[in-house]
């Protein structure tokens, strides 16, 4: 029993190390583009347009958008890391190295997820560093800020994993990010407070899970949010539980991996 646990632990760290090395090896593709995006958002929206808007919800516009821009980097990169890594493993069949080895499904899943979290948080940290050139960032509630970032990253890593299990072509792993994830993040209140919206669109916006993450994160940094904090945690945890169970169940059945 003890030996099994030790063995799973070694396997887990092997997967994590491999996942981190994968995105670090191609850092030009994986780490730098989100940082450049973030610079552009902050220059154009925060700097040029923001100087006309001045304030949103009582905070300078630049300060308002920074948490959302950081979160966008975390969301998109966690997702992309796991979906592309898992999809390559499937397509080149080296996922079989793991399936054949005495490694439990939960270890495999956690290994990939932590890989995605590492990339998401690496990008988040980099964007934060960039943001420091534009504004002072001193989180009101560091623990909330960190925990929301971490949980969001876990959630979207799980989403990427699920996507990869179903994907059969490279198109299949770009459809969800392009047609679902990007719109949801843009409408998730990165650049505006939903209190600006008419009643009806406010209600619609509240169906968007990304809204809860961005607002939770913004609360951690600015101490203000459109959404009660507990709702942010509840939505994220609910999604993690649901996505995690589906992923484990599919792994158990060997969906997309075994015949």
């Amino acid at each position: 029993m003890m030996a099994r646990l030790l063995q799973e632990r070694v396997a887990f760290f092997t997967i994590v190390r491999k996942e981190i090395r994968r995105f670090m090896r191609i850092w030009v593709q994986t780490i730098t583009p989100p940082a450049i995006n973030a610079i552009l958002y902050m220059l154009i929206f925060g700097g040029l347009i923001g100087s006309r808007i001045r304030e949103m919800d009582g905070v300078p516009y630049m300060d308002f958008i920074v948490p959302g821009v950081i979160m966008m980097g975390i969301i998109i990169n966690s997702y992309a890391n796991v979906s592309s890594s898992m999809f390559s493993a499937k397509m080149q069949h080296y996922i079989e190295e793991l399936v054949v080895a005495p490694v439990s499904n939960i270890t495999i899943l956690m290994g990939f997820i932590i890989g995605g979290v590492a990339r998401g948080l690496a990008v988040g940290t980099l964007v934060t560093c960039v943001a420091l050139f534009f504004t002072d960032l001193s989180p009101q509630y560091p623990l909330i800020t960190l925990s929301i970032a971490l949980l969001t990253s876990v959630m979207f890593s799980l989403g990427g994993f699920l996507n990869a299990l179903f994907a059969n072509t490279f198109d299949d792993i770009s459809i969800v990010p392009n047609f679902v994830l990007t719109p949801l993040t843009y409408f998730g209140g990165i650049f505006y407070s939903i209190s600006l919206l008419p009643e009806f669109w406010q209600t619609v916006s509240k169906l968007n899970p990304v809204l809860y993450m961005i607002n939770g994160f913004r609360f951690g940094i600015l101490g203000a949010s459109d959404i009660p904090l507990w709702q942010s945690y509840a939505v994220i945890l609910l999604f993690i539980a649901a996505l995690g169970s589906v992923c484990l169940w599919l792994l158990h059945r060997g969906a997309g991996i075994k015949q």
């Binding site: 070694v10 493993a89 079989e96 399936v99 015949q259």
Partner: protein, 322 residues
């Protein structure tokens, strides 16, 4: 103990193909075992199920006494797999591919390093350890998969057509290496092949699989001599209790008829003379289908196909059987 035990294993693929139609197979620990069969016989399917890459439809598999259904992890820990198709990350280096698999099997890093070095050296890949896998030649890739399969020193090594597309010289060194592993480390080995020659020179026991069924099982030489026998089914007017008549072995079937084995080329007159001498009157005779012969014919065709596909000179693998 059995390195591998399979009972009534079946597999029906989603498309409806019956790849395995209830096979039973048993491989003793320490054996060097060949699974011989033509294209599409079900070899890779059987191996896929043993290695947990394919879900079975029904039946039982146990590896070194661990049932795949109830002790999956323990069974997996005892298997090293060299699959038919390359399945490593092409961008990864040779060394890290082997190191990662050592890690998946729970080897602490120092031991993983030692083993990786040991097996890469044994398979003449140490100089290539920093190379990306895609830059290796076909034979090197094959050897990389062998090193990867051995790094956790499994009790059972399974190789699915390890010598396909490998030149004669490398094939010989690979054979020597496998024999060494089998003899010195006591690793049980199962390999699949189209080549009778390969089974003959390497393996103690062989099972012949064709169209999802095990046709015959035994030692290689037994099967070869059996394939050169012809069997006749006789209706005799007297019951026959003997197990041999002159030089020919006979059996009584459940329906009361007699089967008699005659090596190919024997004159039937000689057989009848012998029967007459023993006071047996034959009222009818027919030729029993020789399943082995039918099988070897298909095997030859399958070899021709794959030799043509590989662009290699046709193999003279069946020399002994013909």
């Amino acid at each position: 103990m059995k390195a591998l035990h399979i009972e009534a294993l079946t597999k029906v693929y989603d498309g409806g193909v019956h790849a395995l139609r209830g096979i039973d197979l048993s491989v003793e620990e320490g054996n060097f075992f060949a699974l011989l069969g033509p294209n599409g016989a079900g070899k890779s399917t059987a191996i896929g199920i043993i290695a947990s890459l394919v879900n079975k439809t029904s039946g039982h598999v146990s590896v070194c006494g661990h049932d795949l259904d109830t002790a999956k992890e323990a069974a997996k820990a005892n298997i090293g797999l060299v699959p038919q198709e390359f399945n490593f990350s092409v961008f990864e280096s040779v060394e890290s591919i082997v190191m990662n698999v050592a890690g998946y099997n729970g080897l602490p890093r120092r031991l993983a390093k030692q083993r990786t070095e040991h097996y890469l050296k044994q398979l003449s890949l140490w100089d290539k350890r920093k190379a990306a896998a895609r830059d290796l030649s076909g034979g090197m890739k094959r050897r990389l998969m062998i090193a990867r399969a051995l790094v956790h020193e499994p009790k059972l090594l399974i190789l699915d057509e390890p010598t396909a597309g490998v030149d004669i010289e490398i094939r010989r060194t690979m054979w020597e290496f496998l024999t060494h592993i089998n003899k010195e480390q006591g690793t049980s080995i199962i390999l699949t092949t189209h080549y009778l020659e390969e089974a003959e020179s390497l393996c103690r026991d062989v099972a012949i699989i064709d169209q999802g069924t095990i046709v015959e099982q035994g030692t290689v030489s037994e099967l070869l001599s059996r394939s050169m026998m012809e069997t006749f089914v006789l209706d005799t007017q007297q019951p026959v209790a003997a197990t041999s008549i002159g030089p020919y072995s006979v059996r009584t079937r459940e329906d009361g008829k007699i089967e008699i084995d005659v090596s190919q080329g024997t004159a039937l007159n000689d057989v009848f003379n012998e029967l007459t001498t023993h006071g047996i009157t034959v009222s009818s005779l027919r030729n029993k289908e020789n399943r082995l012969e039918a099988f070897f014919l298909r095997l030859v065709n399958s070899q021709r196909e794959s030799a043509a596909a590989n662009g290699q000179a046709a193999h003279n693998a069946l020399g002994a059987a013909q």
